[in-house]
Amino acid sequence: MNRNRLANLVLILTLLFLIGPFIIIFITSFSSEVSLKFPPQGFTLDWFKKVISMTMFVDSLKLSLKLGLVSSIIALCLGIPVAYITSRYNFRGKRVIEVITTLPIIIPQMVAGLVLLRLFVLMNIFSVEVTLLIGHTAVVLPYVVRNVLSALINFPVSVEEAAISLGASRLRTFFLIVLPNIRTGIISAFILTFIISFNNVPISLFLTGPGLSTLPVVMLTYLEYYYNPSIAALSTLLIFISAFIVFISQKLLGLSKLM
């Protein structure tokens, strides 16, 4: 009995710890005061109206969404073949490829951002947008490789061999047999990479500036100057967008498992 109560207490504390900050942000975003305060006074939807009318936020949101989408897609296109080849073949240099594709997890992203800035932007090789895309793709690539690898490890090679023995080329086997069976791994890799890119600050920090910036960076700079509930309103919106994305993809995943 006693032990049960203790367990319950731990559970409640954990939940509070996890969703407490969100509740505070959620409530503050309706506050009619001009500075962030808790508990808030009054009730208004003005902060939401303000946030969606500010071009600064809307433009950077668009950039962040685009960046998340494109870098995730590129990372999938690169990561799936890499994962497939390293899981199914033995060849010289296999270790090198494995290290290169997982290195970005180890290198401090701030350093990587700085290097990208000096290398590409300051030397006028790529535009800021392209450089951002390169940086984000590199950051999310390891997550694709790992997710897809674990999906591939659970998929028996004999199933592929069956397809080949029945007359399919290796390429057709990959598209007709392997890909449909690692679909779940690919979709979850995509969700993960999208969210990682969307929330990324360190890589973007050096590469962005006035006029072209990602949403998290804009929010950070905004917070330095204005300490009002609009940022809470924006956060509330973002949380609902993320929850929506996760909800939709779980629906898709659930359905794809049944089909």
Partner: protein
């Protein structure tokens, strides 16, 4: 008779210098069923995968239907593979699983449908076309695995222990089905198994493997009753009873001076006067008796194990050796600790020369 499949002197190694198959020769006639029989690790799967093309040859040639297969890509070889773990396509239903090979061969849709339904019917799973593999039992999955392999009318059907994931009763049912289907379709088949009874029940011919080499090939009768080497004999259920020196030769038989006196046994290959031999027999060919007969050993019963319609006696003979003796239930009146004679008919004994085959 021209051989349909010929493996000429093939050698395979996974690591340099370590032969898994060494100078390997094997022939199969068209439409015949050959089993590769041998213990774990002897190279059965390697042989099968080499024929299929998944493993490269170090030397030798594979000839199928007078065509050299060495450089033919796997997907152009026209083979059917059946796996121990079924290896069905998890995302395709039964119909599409079976249809896969036909689609790859660009056969018209109506014809595909006709062929697929026919073969699904012949493995007794009509009505299951829309099911996913995960919604089938193991036995049903393997039926579909077999249907998927034979529907393309392969030149060769290669099966690697297809029944070893199934329970004993189903295994025996499926044996009969595989044999019936193979005879009906007349597909040249190579079947890998470590189960001697399975090989005997299914095959036209059996090749017994020992560490990457063929020890003996022959019909099931030849392998079962006339093993040519001690290794084959032991593998198909003979046990060593005595060893001794040949003191007399009489037509097909030899007399051997052994620990328990003179033993008479059928002779094989290199057995000759004065050579040292081992004599083997099957446990069901022994009888227990107080009297002494031609081939007789004294012993003491150390265990009596009821096995349904037979009783297994473990009898300790002189030199710390234990013989397993199988006696029909009706005759099993002996009890533990009784001292008696194990007798065995010379017809049921085979002598193999020891050392150097």
């Amino acid at each position: 008779m021209v051989k349909f499949l010929r493996l000429n002197n093939i050698s395979v190694m996974y690591q340099p210098g370590q032969y898994v198959l060494e100078k390997f020769n094997l022939c199969v006639e068209k439409g015949k069923f050959l089993s590769l029989l041998g213990p774990s690790g002897c190279g059965k799967t390697t042989t099968l995968r080499t024929i299929a093309g998944f493993i490269a040859l170090q030397e030798g040639t594979i000839v199928v239907n007078n065509k050299i297969y060495n450089n033919v890509p796997i997907n152009k070889r026209n083979i059917g593979l059946v796996f121990q773990n079924y290896a069905l396509f998890p995302h395709l239903n039964v119909f599409d699983n079976v249809a896969f090979g036909l689609k790859m061969r660009k056969i018209p849709k109506d014809l595909i449908k006709e062929k697929v339904l026919k073969v699904i019917e012949s493995v007794g799973l009509n009505g299951y076309e829309k099911r996913l593999p995960a919604q089938l039992s193991g036995g049903q999955q393997q039926r579909i695995g077999i249907a998927r392999a034979v529907v393309v009318e392969p030149d060769l059907l290669l099966m690697d222990e297809p029944l070893s994931n199934l329970d004993a009763k189903l295994r025996i049912e499926m044996r009969a089905e595989i044999r019936r289907l193979q005879k009906k379709l007349k597909i040249t088949t190579i079947y890998v198994t470590h189960d001697q009874l399975e090989a005997i029940a299914l095959s036209d011919e059996i090749a017994v493997l020992n560490q990457g080499k063929i020890e003996q090939t022959g019909t099931p009768e030849e392998i079962f009753y006339s093993p040519k080497t001690l290794y084959v004999a032991k593998f198909i259920g003979f046990q060593e009873i005595v060893s001794g020196i040949v003191v007399n030769e009489l037509n097909d038989f030899v007399e051997v001076s052994a620990e328990y006196g003179i033993f008479k046994a059928k002779k094989t290959g290199k057995v000759s006067l004065n050579s040292k031999v081992s004599i083997v027999a099957r446990k069901k060919d022994f009888t227990l008796d107080k009297k002494e007969n031609t081939n007789s050993m004294r012993g003491k019963i150390i265990a009596k194990i009821f096995q349904g319609d037979v009783v297994l006696y473990m009898v300790k003979t002189g030199s710390n050796l234990v013989q397993n003796v199988e006696i029909p239930l009706k005759l099993a009146s002996w009890e533990e600790n009784e001292k008696l004679n194990i007798n065995v008919n010379p017809e049921a004994c085979i002598a193999f020369s020891e050392g150097g085959k």
